[in-house]
Point group: C2
Chain length 365, copies 2
């Protein structure tokens, strides 16, 4: 088999931390083995540190980030519930679709692609729809490179509306403060700033989200993603078998979280911030124009309009084939016109920026 | 981190094939990278060989076997549909629960634990409920070690009832003949006879299952498991992004399927048959009594009543701690009284049988 080696600077997967890759090869353990359960416990403890939460119900869902999104909605929504969803990109749209499939009445609060949601508009919607059950926002919109501000939404604490946040592209890359921001349900993915291969979705639920879960009239429509059942295995003292945990992926997540916490979570944030800023300051000299206004840019995911005379497909193909560098194309309206350049997890290094800028300089000269 | 090394002779996970472990460490590729898509195509082709099918829609679902079960039901069932389910163990029960959460009216056809379902009873139920949408059976009941016969159910071809089969514990261990048996929807898991870590669920859908999918009134309640959307990415010519594929796990599945097909699928079946028979012939001399009548035993998963004077927990703990051998305890009524001993995938070796019999001989003497 060819062992093609890429520098992964797209919207994810990133290059995993070497610690995660090494851990994938750990000898297999049974999902009820005391040693595996010990690793799982430690993984949940490390996830709490990274989510900045003391939530007991903090665990890796056994599927990718989009399943984490679905896990949050199927557990918190019952048919006929209203759900307020912020939409300024692909992943806000996906939340609407997932919520609708749970039978929700979706109230959309929109902003244009490339612009942040206005927290006041979201809070206005909450005031207009006081019986809404959740208000859902994507923290870091992977389709546009925009950061949506979450902290002001902590005002929802004083309502009966739960705050549901997508941190797939933000967790461990920029500050995420689950407890301080009053986030009730939060999911992420492993293949971005956590620096693990894709395959797991860390999820955390607050006490009031758990209370909502326990007060449901009907069981969630998904058995696989039923957090009450999953929690009995993952976090319950009796370890009731639910499904076979993806053991190797849990090993990898455990190891990457260890690497991040050894570096220090704030240090990892600062590293993402530094390399992202350097990239964003350097791109205009090559003819790129940043999509997102200053103050709302994600350091870990930069969107940039291509230089006027550059052809998207040709340039990305040359980067991939000549240099082994992957960057991401635009989605939706951005397709063919903008790039998404990720500097996430282990890929968030000065070396990555130097390499990309050097290659682009050669290709565009 | 301790790198504890077990001989995994429980109901799964088994010890992965070394080829699968090596492939886990392949350098990460993006999920839209042409090289990864090539590996994915080859994986689907290999899955068709192992499922014995020419079904175009044959792919790995990005979660464990139970999610494969849910994928089959959410795509094929609409609220109010009748579903006939064979129940003679935990996984038949799970099918009923998953079907109910899709809004199905479940018709149960039962057999006692440790005994096979009577195919005639299932076909009788199909005659009594001609408007049922699916008839679902577990081929290899992981909770009891029983093989349920699937071939006679090919008679459903002449009805409008789709045949849905769980091959989590059978695929690549004993003959599974998707096309020849007229199976319309079939799912498996990677961590049993396929010899891959847990984390993916291979699924295959027949033409008439796809027609059912396309004729649905409403979209499936799960977005993550919506096979129409998944197929657009995995198997469609346009490769429409759906979710980020679990790249490393696909590498591992690809490699293990390669190892199995290099050995020869029939040779792999024969290997499972030989080691399972040897174990089953040897256990009575140690005081164990086989649970399942001859002719219905799975070679890859043996259930045996413990010797009258043996204590389940003590004996399994000694096996695990002294010898590093994992066997499975009983579920439900079998808890504390019977064991489940797996010889699956890479664990299905004469060496495994010799080791286990030697250890048990020492512990029970």
């Amino acid at each position: 088999m060819p062992l093609t080696d890429r520098l992964l600077l797209g919207p994810g997967p990133s290059n995993p931390y070497p610690e995660a890759v090494a851990a994938l090869g750990r000898p297999m353990l049974g999902h009820m083995d005391p040693e595996f359960l010990g690793v799982l416990d430690e993984t949940m403890e490390r996830l709490r540190e990274v989510f900045r939460t003391s939530n007991a119900l903090t665990l890796p869902v056994s599927a990718t980030g989009s399943a984490g999104m679905e896990a949050c909605f199927v557990n918190l929504i019952e048919p006929g519930d209203a759900a307020i969803v912020g939409v300024n990109g692909v992943f806000g749209e996906r939340m609407c679709e997932v919520a609708r499939r749970c039978g929700a009445d979706v109230v959309r609060v929109e902003a244009p692609w490339g612009r942040p949601l206005d927290p006041e508009h979201l809070l206005d919607a909450a005031r207009d729809h006081p019986r809404a059950r959740v208000l859902a926002v994507v923290h870091a919109e992977t389709s546009t490179g925009v950061e949506n501000e979450i902290a002001p939404l902590r005002a929802l604490r004083d309502t009966d509306i739960l705050l549901l946040v997508d941190t797939v592209t933000s967790l461990a890359g920029i500050p995420v403060e689950v407890d301080d921001w009053g986030v009730d349900a939060c999911y992420s993915g492993t293949q971005k700033c956590l620096g693990v291969p894709p395959g797991l979705s860390p999820v955390t639920f607050s006490e009031r989200a758990i209370a909502r879960l326990q007060a449901r009239d009907a069981r969630p429509q998904s058995w696989y993603l039923d957090l009450s059942l999953i929690a009995d295995y993952v976090a319950g003292s009796s370890r009731v078998y639910h499904h076979t945990a993806p053991v190797s992926m849990v090993f990898a997540l455990h190891a990457a979280l260890g690497a991040i916490l050894d570096e220090g979570l704030e240090a990892a944030w600062a590293r993402h911030r530094a390399v992202g800023t350097r990239l964003q300051e350097s791109l205009p000299a090559l003819g790129f124009e940043l999509v997102v206004p200053e103050g709302h840019r994600l350091p870990q995911l930069t969107t940039a309009w291509l230089p006027p005379d550059a052809d998207d497909a040709t340039l990305r193909k040359a980067l991939l084939e000549t240099y082994g560098i992957e960057v991401g194309g635009g989605l939706g309206d951005f397709a063919g016109r903008a790039w998404r350049i990720g500097l996430m997890g282990h890929s968030a290094r000065d070396r990555s920026v130097t390499t990309l800028l050097g290659a682009l300089g050669e290709l565009l000269s």
